[in-house]
């Protein structure tokens, strides 16, 4: 149990963090495009 909460959970969270980092770059690019189109 202690290995799940102290090792597996942190690794899952790090995976989520990396995935969101990639997602947010794409999202900001989308916003930039919207701003460019609306100008």
């Amino acid at each position: 149990m202690i290995y799940v909460t102290c090792v597996v959970c942190p690794l899952i969270a790090i995976g989520c963090g990396v995935a969101v980092l990639i997602g947010v770059v794409h999202f900001v690019e989308q916003i930039r495009n919207d701003i460019r189109i609306s100008k």
Binding site: Y3, C6, P10, A13, C16, G17, V24, F27, V28, S38
Partner: protein
């Protein structure tokens, strides 16, 4: 706090990165863009923004302190919080996403219960969000104060106004983008801190496991059944669909983006709370039993992280606070414009956007004053917290499922539920250890039934939701 130049450089770099993000996502041309991001937010961003808002100082620093004192007790009790978010994702968030002409909970309430209930919802929403903004500002201000030594008022104003400026220019899209950036940052830094603490542990893993078990059992022994039930119910219902969460459902691109975003955030919440509770349990092995619960997180970080990395962790704490503060600030503003100022006269989109921007600065300024002026801000927040579910939740959830509703049921349920909860908490001081949320919910249900029986039906004034006919937005 004793910190190095490298640590300060880490914090400044983080503020610069956030400012750059805000710059790239600035400019909003309509109120729909400002309040619900043109309803174009994808699954990943709904998830990240929701999780970032949920994980505030309480679910990080606070939970580490709980883990330090009572092992996995609060983690087990708070599993109901993750469950709540998953259930909202399955049953309610997709329905909310169908309300494509609504910007707030108040807008949805008006469709089912009329203007008076809309107004009441607005008052509760703005009050709750101002309270949250003030508390978050105070926490972040205290942190900045301990790092820089600047006057506390200046620190609170700096952090709150920094958040307000990019909420002011970019609206909810800027909030969601920066939320996601904050989320990425602390989901990298805090788990790495736990892995470091686990690897460098001064005792064996078997001893750590035994200590966790003993602390958890001791924690359970210190609470009676009613207290355990009360805490679980508070985690389950206390924050259900508060304005920033509802706002994410309204901003989602599709019903499935909304559903998946909420379910993922609920599941992530259970993983995150395990991490911070474990951090507290590990901290006990490093620090012994005599540290104040609120200081455990920082003291452990200072002990195990090298200079520079510690600064990055401080930046992560600021990120945790700011990601919650910016969301409640934006929700407070949108609610102020739609549910309070614009309740009796329809405003043009331009006027709403202008008011939204001014409102952001106004609410930020009020929050700064409230957080520094009132020493009992936490008490005020607890009152807001305990009246949310009893006053709003029942009529709101029913509004999402029933078409034939009665206006009197809405406002009577809100007034009875909210008043009962306030009286139970502030005057009666929660007798028998029963949390205010329980009698509040009972009276809210009673008020709804009485109002529904005696009032006149409004009839169905909403188009059939696409969800019911199997289509997707």
């Amino acid at each position: 706090m004793n910190i190095s130049v490298l640590d300060i450089a880490g914090i400044i770099s983080y503020f610069v990165a956030t400012a750059l993000f805000a710059y790239f996502t600035r400019r909003t041309r309509s109120f729909t863009e400002f309040s619900v991001g043109n309803r174009k937010v994808p699954t990943m961003m709904v998830f990240a923004s929701l999780a970032a808002t949920i994980i505030g100082p309480g679910f990080s620093i606070g939970f580490t302190g709980k883990g330090y004192n009572s092992g996995y007790l609060f983690y087990i009790l708070a599993l109901t919080y993750g469950l709540q978010t998953v259930l909202v994702g399955v049953f309610f968030a997709p329905r909310l996403t169908e309300y494509t002409d609504c910007h707030t909970i108040g807008d949805v309430m008006e469709k089912r219960y009329g203007k008076f209930t809309h107004f009441l919802t607005g008052i509760v929403s703005v009050g709750l969000c101002v309270g949250f903004t003030a508390v978050m500002g105070k926490i972040a201000g205290n942190l900045l104060h301990s790092v820089t030594g600047w006057p506390l008022f200046l620190c609170i104003a700096t952090v709150t106004m920094f958040t307000a400026v990019y909420t002011f220019t970019g609206g909810v899209r800027a909030v969601i983008a920066t939320d996601a950036m904050h989320f990425s940052w602390y989901t990298l830094v805090v788990p790495i801190m736990l892995l470091t603490a686990f690897v460098k542990l001064p005792v064996s893993h078997l001893e750590l496991s035994a200590s966790a078990s003993a602390l958890t059992s001791g924690g359970f022994a210190g609470l009676n059944k009613m207290q355990i039930f009360g805490i679980m119910i508070s985690f389950l219902l206390g924050e259900t669909l508060i304005p920033p969460y509802t706002n994410r459902a309204l901003a989602a691109k599709t019903t499935s983006a909304s559903r998946r975003g909420f379910i993922s955030a609920g599941l992530f919440c259970t993983v995150w709370l395990a991490i911070v509770a474990s951090l507290g349990i590990c901290a006990r092995q490093y620090l012994g039993p005599n540290i104040g619960a609120d200081d455990v997180f920082i003291t452990l970080a200072r002990l195990i992280l090298p200079s520079g990395v510690f600064g990055l962790l401080l930046a992560a704490i600021i990120a945790i606070v700011m990601s919650s503060q910016e969301s409640v600030l934006n929700s407070a503003t949108v609610s102020l414009v739609r549910d309070v100022i614009g309740i009796n006269r329809p405003l043009s989109d331009k006027a709403e956007l202008r008011l939204g921007r001014m409102g952001t600065l106004l609410i930020a300024a009020i929050s700064v004053v409230v957080s520094t002026y009132s020493p009992s801000i936490i008490d005020g927040l607890l009152i807001c917290y305990s009246i949310w579910a009893p006053s709003i939740l029942l009529p709101f959830l029913i509004a999402l499922y029933r078409k034939n509703t009665v206006p009197a049921a809405g406002w009577l349920s809100m007034i009875l539920g909210g008043t009962t909860s306030i009286i139970w908490q502030t005057i009666l001081k929660e007798p028998f250890g029963v949390p205010a949320i329980l009698p509040g919910l009972v009276m809210s249900t009673f008020g709804y039934i009485v109002g529904h029986s005696l009032g006149t039906s409004r009839g169905n004034n909403l188009p059939e939701p696409a969800l019911l006919s199997g289509q997707e937005k």
